[in-house]
Symmetry: C2
Subunit: 389 residues, 2 copies
């Protein structure tokens, strides 16, 4: 094991902080990101060695923050398939369409990446209790990795979250609090509990390591496409950690000289029933305004204001991307289209297909574009959405 | 692509049949198995090349029956994690305990292996309609791969199978018939439909290629343990294809000189509520008698008589293995134990942990044994079993 993390820096004020002790937010309130000695990584790691490495996200260990191999809690997360979808793509005018299928992770969603990295690093730093609010899938992932690592996991989730998510948290022995309201209300409960109990708050972007795990999504897409980034990646943004992670990954790879093109354009989608990031993008704002009474069948997108919204919007704008809302009916239709092509998509993941279709129609994507959709989780996590039809 | 399949041979009468045309059963009624030119594989494939190959079951393409790479339908199946479970193992007196976690397959179960291979080969041979009875998970897997391949898939399943399984088949566009009774009754429906409609019957062991896909389970375990087979593998047997596949894999690897030890002992478990194979093993019979009114929460084990029971029993006996029934209460308890260790096990997979514990207690396994449990699927496939507690 040989992490090349050098320090943490605040994404708001730029202040550098020590990564060798537990850190939450910057004193200014901004989220912290890992800084790596990328020149050293580039000279230490021959790119040609990668194919023979372990087929999990830990193949990129030098670009991850865990320092001791013994701290890693791995259940096989990451290095999920990137699948060409020529027939489905043809039908929507995007023949070079691909799907990154995150359903093949432990607990069935991409949340496993953030949890594996966050739990491993928390354990390494001597933390015993972690706590987070969740719309469902993050709670299941953290509960699972917490169980594997021997950490106590405390989650608060909306009572309206899918029952399978609650059952999953309980299966893995997490302490579950059900909350009336959205994930923001669950966040307030966790914030208070952490202050009262001394638990470590691992809410989205309120500790530095979840996003580091998500970064591997971008590293994998680049490697799986032969170190040539696609023209566009479409991501269903709830808290938006994944798209921030992909953005960081591409920047780091470019700085290391591993990625030569300037792509990808990072495109986000949300449900029209709860679309604060899309509204902010369209209004040219640097941050989003809270969305009132958000409603969507895609529970992971029911986030009324993402904590790191300014970073999500920066990632989209800096890469020449765009943002687009789709309806729940579009999402249902896209679940079916994915299914007919052999992909069991969650509602959030299906939103990316609906967005791709709309972006092609309005000319934001061309028939020559190589487009990667992120299916953030398995249809299996949503038996209700499956059975509802 | 370079399959080294040479012909098919009947596991009952030994007759050789041509693999280049569609084949179901041998004229004698026995199941067909692939025969490979193993000496040629051993000289064509340097074992040292394997680590850099694709991290799916297709890394063993020379030992699979698909002849043209263009026929392969892959959604990322196989090369699932083999996880060391030292803490869980210590608690039951088996410190060298491992879990092969098949939940990280498309559709969340090991059925993806058989479906990927069977569908790919069916497409290669020009077949347009495949049909099978299923307790649930095989139907979902075949429906998924059929959708990806553009084949029509017809499934018959017990009305009592988990509703998530039916929804999954429908998501992938399969033609679903619900049947009163067990999978045996569903089998009769499929048998009749295949004769009437000219569909290709891909029931368990009634065509030669599903078991070839399952064989990769054994190949992977051997490779992941550094080409040293474990002392024992515990498998939850419904139709028993997986354990037959593992047995064939180990024999082929040994014949190729890739595996030097004589292990593993192949151990099967079933639920006490439906245990025809266990009863046959205990009675010293070569075949099983149909089990009446089988009942268990592990739907995949509710098979009253496995078609290839004689091969399952031969695999167990030839390797010095054994067979043991566990109760549904044991299964529920083992789901919890797995969960507390970070493994989301299906009831069938959990049965292997209960069996390991019992075998250790009765002295059939020793504390020095390296034991691999096959968790055949994800807990996510069983929201009812999760929520029921």
């Amino acid at each position: 094991m040989s992490s090349f993390v050098a320090y943490l820096s605040c994404a708001r004020c730029g202040r550098a902080l020590d990564h060798r002790v537990p850190q939450g937010l910057c004193p200014c309130g901004g989220p912290l990101l890992g800084d790596y000695d990328l020149d050293a990584v580039a000279s230490a790691v021959p790119k040609a060695d990668l194919p023979a490495r372990v087929p999990t996200m830990w193949r990129y260990r030098e670009l991850l923050p865990v320092e001791d191999a013994g701290s890693v809690v791995s259940l096989g997360e990451g290095f999920t398939p990137l699948l060409p979808m020529p027939a489905l793509g043809e039908r929507i005018g995007l023949p070079d369409l691909w799907v990154k299928d995150e359903g093949l992770n432990p607990t069935g969603t991409f949340k496993a990446r953030g949890a594996a990295c966050g739990v491993s690093r928390a354990r390494e730093l001597g933390i015993r209790h972690v706590a987070l609010p969740t719309a469902g899938n993050a709670g299941g992932a953290w509960a699972c990795y917490g169980a594997a690592a021997g950490l106590d996991v405390h989650v608060a989730m909306p009572a309206a979250a899918p029952s399978a998510n609650r059952a999953e948290c309980e299966l893995f022995g997490a302490d579950v609090t059900l909350v009336d309201g959205l994930i923001s209300e669950a966040g307030r409960v966790i914030d208070r509990q952490c202050r009262e109990e001394g638990w470590f708050d691992v809410s989205t972007m309120k500790e530095p390591y979840r996003v580091e795990g998500k970064k591997t999504l971008g590293l994998e897409i680049a490697e799986q496409l032969g170190w040539m980034a696609p023209d566009a990646i479409i991501y269903p943004a709830g808290g938006g950690v994944g798209v921030i992670g992909i953005w960081l990954a591409m920047r780091q790879l470019r700085q290391m000289g591993w990625l030569e093109n300037d792509a990808p354009r990072l495109i986000i989608t949300q449900s029209a029933g709860c679309a604060p990031l899309i509204r902010a993008f369209e209004q040219g704002s640097e941050e989003s305004e809270p969305w009132r009474d958000g409603q969507t069948i895609a529970h992971g997108l029911r986030v009324h204001k993402a904590f790191a919204d300014f970073l999500v919007l920066r990632a989209v704008r800096e890469t020449g991307g765009t943002a687009l809302a789709v309806t729940d009916d579009d999402i249902r239709e896209s679940i079916r289209s994915f299914g007919q092509a052999g992909i069991g998509a969650c509602p959030e993941g299906a939103a990316t297909l609906a967005a791709a279709e709309a972006l092609r129609e309005r000319g934001d994507l061309s028939s020559r574009d190589r487009v990667v959709l992120i299916n953030t989780g398995s249809a299996l996590k949503y038996p209700d959405a499956l059975g509802a039809d």
